[in-house]
């Protein structure tokens, strides 16, 4: 086998040498394909594994941590919540509609593969400067794709984030998260149990789409790649997935299958190898039995990433019953192999063996790198001149910046209320759905603050997690666990490797302190085009629960004259990165001051207070303070002609970022009780003002209420057209 073919398959010559020495023979082209699929970053985490091991992944509520299709936490009474986030960055840049759609399809399969019915999705999408036609095309395609897939299947999208920054000009990010509900005694795993069990293929026929998708996602783009790589993008069919989901859930609830694994990245190769590895068994699959859409070579069948396909293991006796159920759902079904005791992965075609490899070498001997990394330089401290800013200017800067405006253009293209259990829709701090036929509410939020992480990856990551934490607390959801999606540029650059190492370390620290383990996740590296890397963007999805949905807090004002309280500690003008960047005081990353230390104790203490007060029904509504400060937090709370009148000492302070920052709206009759709780807990607070009808008033300066609403709700539409 010549070097060129090896390198084309994304393996290094050293890696190939290791394989050859182990096997003591040459590889078939199919076997090379398997290593290409299994030893890339996307499947084996060869760069990040060393560091990911440091993350806390278990506590008493974790039923399933990383390593399965999705993580699962226990929310009591035999109810479990399965969830995971996954990236589809590279495919979405090449073919935005299908790339994003199949991202949603893949993450939903991860959920129902575990026996869980999906109950919500979220997304986290990032694009370059909107002024370019390319960004507009990507934005339209990605949002359409996410919407199309989720809307068709009928899973509500309950929230997410959408950010624009020139760092994503040549590499947009599309991360999709899904949440499912499962009975804890009916969870399905990918581990097969019975030697001699039949391996069955369920779902769409296999075609040429997506061949080498996983290895593409582990590579840097060059500019002329776009057209060439398009055939590597999978094409999704949400109707097929809906049938597959209903069919699989019916099979699982009737107890006819033993284990299940979805064919995601690297298709039948990765799903069968993982199955063998988990069960410490072997598999023998006859590729001639695989349902095909078009004539394919064994090599192509092994690497196809055609969507909406599942692999399951069943007992022989159940074969006909399963065929009957799947016939009702019009789903292809074929027995393609069996579980063996050889601990080898064997594929045959035309009565010839094309692959015969020990599972060990593919999985356990997968490379693990300890890449060189460098730490960020120490920052100088300085003060910034903000004297040119007045309140009108600051408002105008935020109201003409896409990142601050209402994103209904995005989320109105998603169905947020299907399934009838949605309690909080997108546009609020967290999305919340009820578990059907129970009183329990599940809340979730996706977040990342790339600018903070760029300034200081470790502290920045802590701020990112705390923001998600506040989003849940502001809804009175108890934060319970995390899924992560680590989007970075090329780890071969020691600076970027440093960002990876430090942000994982920050994530580990804060997850331990908050007791919110990481139960699932995904790593997406090489988000880079030539020498233009993206800013580090480790996104997290945080999930939590409240056993009584009636205690959920809305973010919107409820009635006039309610008192507005401010909790938290301002970072101040010189230390609020987004304030400095978006008020155009700083343009270069090297000028920022070092991040202030996050005040984790204050965060936890404040969260406890809000939960306690909310359980006593003392809070009307609440919102957290993040990018855009008190000002943006208040504007997001306005609704149905309810505005506000507030007084502050320093007007600049209402635009700054906060530690443990929240705005609470309190009924006047509960004021005293709330104040006494705050004194008792020794939490500093400020009475900001009141909710007022048709009013937008800051320090006696009156702004026109409808003008402000128009700007906040309509400017996004204007700016993207």
């Amino acid at each position: 086998m010549n070097d060129e073919i090896i390198l084309e398959h994304g393996l290094t010559l050293d890696e190939f040498r290791v394989i050859k020495e182990y096997l003591k023979r040459d590889l078939t082209i199919e076997e090379l394909g398997i290593f290409s699929a299994m030893w890339n970053e996307h499947c084996c985490y060869k760069t990040s594994k060393k560091w990911l091991k440091k993350l806390p992944t278990s506590n008493e509520i974790v039923i399933q941590g990383p390593g399965e299709n999705a993580g699962i936490i226990d929310v009591k009474d035999n109810d479990g919540i399965a969830f995971k986030i996954e990236s589809h960055n590279h495919p979405s840049y090449i073919e935005p509609f299908n790339g994003a759609a199949t991202g949603v399809g893949g993450i939903l399969r991860d959920i129902f593969t575990m026996g869980a019915r999906p109950i919500a999705t979220l997304d986290s999408i990032r694009f370059g400067e909107i002024s370019t036609d390319k960004t507009n095309y990507l934005l339209n395609g990605v949002v359409h794709g996410i919407g199309h897939y989720g809307n068709c299947i009928g899973i509500p999208n309950i929230g997410g984030e959408c950010e624009f920054d020139q760092t994503y000009d040549y590499n947009n990010l599309v991360n999709a998260m899904a949440i499912g509900h499962v009975k804890n005694d009916s969870i399905f795993y990918s581990k097969p149990k019975t030697i001699g069990g039949l391996i069955v293929y369920i779902g769409s026929k296999t075609g040429k789409d997506g061949i080498h998708g996983a290895s593409m996602a582990s590579d840097v783009f060059s500019e002329d790649d776009e057209d060439e790589k398009r055939p590597s993008v999978q094409v999704g069919d949400p109707f097929m997935e809906k049938l597959l989901m209903e069919g699989c859930l019916e099979l699982m609830s009737s107890g006819l299958i033993e284990s299940m694994q979805d064919m995601g990245a690297a298709g039948i190769t990765s799903s069968s190898v993982e199955m063998a590895s988990k069960g410490n068994v072997g598999v023998h699959i006859n590729l001639d039995k695989v349902p095909l859409r078009q004539p394919l070579t064994p090599y192509e069948i092994l690497l196809s990433e055609s969507q909406e396909r599942m692999l399951a293991v069943i007992e022989k006796d159940n074969n006909e019953k399963i065929r009957e159920i799947l016939k009702k759902w019009q789903i292809d079904y074929e027995v393609i192999g069996e579980i063996t005791n050889t601990k080898r992965v064997v594929f045959s075609s035309n009565e010839k063996i094309v692959v015969d490899l020990p599972v060990d070498i593919i999985v356990d001997d997968a490379p693990e790198y300890d890449r060189e990394f460098s730490l960020p330089k120490k920052r100088n401290q300085r003060n910034f001149d903000t004297s040119k800013l007045n309140i009108e200017k600051m408002i105008s800067n935020y109201m003409n910046n896409l990142n601050y405006l209402d994103k209904s253009w995005v989320y109105n293209q998603y169905d947020s209320t299907v399934m009838g259990d949605t309690i909080k829709e997108p546009g609020q701090s967290a999305g919340v759905v009820k578990i059907h036929n129970t009183e329990k509410a599940i809340g979730a939020s996706t977040d990342c603050n790339p600018l903070y992480i760029r300034i200081n990856p470790e502290k920045g990551m802590i701020y990112t997690v705390l923001e998600a934490y506040r989003n849940l607390i502001a809804s009175n959801i108890k934060p319970m666990a995390i899924t992560n999606n680590l989007n970075f540029a090329s780890p071969l650059d020691p600076n970027i490797m440093g960002e990876i190492v430090l942000s994982i370390s920050g994530l580990s620290d804060i997850a331990k302190k908050l007791d919110t383990p990481i139960v699932s996740g995904n790593v997406s590296l090489y988000n880079q085009t030539n020498d233009r890397p993206i800013d580090p963007t480790p996104v997290i999805g945080m999930v939590g629960c409240n056993s009584n949905w009636k205690k959920i807090l809305q973010n919107k004002f409820i009635k006039k004259n309610d008192e507005l309280l401010l909790l938290g500690k301002s970072l101040g003008g010189d230390f609020s990165p987004y304030f400095l960047q978006d008020q155009k005081i700083i343009s270069s990353i090297c000028e920022f001051n070092e991040l202030l230390a996050p005040d984790i104790d204050l965060e936890i203490k404040t969260a406890k207070f809000i939960q306690e007060a909310a359980e006593k029904d003392l809070i009307q509504s609440s919102n957290d303070i993040s990018r855009g400060g008190i000002f943006m937090s208040l504007i997001k709370m306005t609704q149905k002609n309810l505005g506000f009148s507030i007084k502050v000492n320093d007007e600049k302070d209402i635009f700054c970022e906060y530690n443990a920052g929240y705005i609470l709206a309190i009924d006047q009759k509960n004021k005293e009780e709330v104040f006494s709780m705050l004194y008792k807990d020794q939490i500093n607070f400020l009475s900001l003002g009141q909710v007022k009808l048709n009013t937008f008033e800051i320090n006696s300066k009156k702004f026109n209420y409808s003008d402000m609403m128009d700007m906040y709700y309509k400017n996004f539409y204007k700016l993207i057209n």
């Binding site: 359409h144 919407g147 199309h148 809307n151 068709c152 299947i153 009928g154 069919d237 949400p238 109707f239 097929m240 809906k242 049938l243 009702k328 759902w329 019009q330 209904s408 989320y411 109105n412 293209q413 998603y414 169905d415 947020s416 209320t417 299907v418 399934m419 009838g420 309690i423 009820k434 059907h436 949905w549 009636k550 959920i552 609704q639 149905k640 002609n641 609403m709 128009d710 709700y713 309509k714």
Partner: protein, 226 residues
């Protein structure tokens, strides 16, 4: 006599469970879920054709479902004067069968639309008789093809015969005229001449519980039961 109802499930229906829950919670009677391949309906007072993407919207929304096995019985059910309600994709199916006039074409924005809308009653019928003329209902919509269209003659017919059940309107926090999808004459729902078949784009089954955006969706079932 207790009220009986049924919900038809097609491959790709995704609001069938929601419709079942809605009927169970509000009618307190027996509710059947019927698979599209069945050849007969049980004896019921109301049938709902639920929302979703029946047959993946293949050909046109609702086109394939309108040829399903169960449809013969659904037509018989309606011809016997019993109630038939098509919500969203169900409305599309009813126009494809020909039980209702007009067609639902793509939204004016050329985009899927998932948000709350405001509607009010236009002409009286059994589905809205408990709703006051001045009342504005807040109910979610979620569709890509909800833009009601028909020729002028049909429109005149619908107006003259008073077959328009609901029309889009402004709500208290609307930032536009309320016609979310470009429908002719703001039409959100129509009935047949006999007024026992209603098709509507908004989803009343997503607006009746305490945590929903409103409880206005209740009023349709309450009207039928009254």
């Amino acid at each position: 006599m207790s009220f009986k109802s049924a919900v038809i499930t097609f491959p790709g229906s995704n609001c069938d469970r929601d419709a079942l829950t809605y009927l169970k919670d509000l009618t307190h009677g027996e509710v059947f879920n019927i698979w599209h391949e069945e050849s007969s309906l049980p004896d019921v007072d109301l049938v709902i054709l639920p929302g979703g993407f029946s047959f993946g919207d293949y050909l046109r929304s609702g086109a394939m479902a309108s040829k399903s096995n169960i449809i013969h019985d659904v037509i018989d059910h309606a011809n016997n004067g019993r109630y038939l309600l098509g919500i969203c994709n169900g409305f599309q199916i009813l126009t494809e069968i020909g039980l209702l006039k007009g067609a639902l074409i793509q939204n004016k924005s050329i985009k899927f639309l998932g948000k709350d809308c405001y509607i009010k009653k236009k002409f009286d019928n059994k589905f809205n008789c408990n709703i006051k003329d001045s009342e504005v209902l807040q109910i979610p919509v979620a569709h890509n093809e909800g833009n009601f269209y028909c020729d002028q003659e049909t429109l005149n017919y619908l107006q003259n015969e008073e077959l328009i059940a609901f029309e889009y309107c402004r709500g208290e926090d609307s930032i536009d005229d309320g016609n979310i999808n470009g429908s002719l004459d703001n039409i959100a729902g129509i009935t047949n001449k006999n007024r026992n078949i209603l098709g509507m784009m908004p989803h009343p089954e997503r607006a009746y519980q305490d945590f929903h955006v409103s409880k206005d969706g209740k009023k349709i079932i309450e009207s039928i039961l009254s």
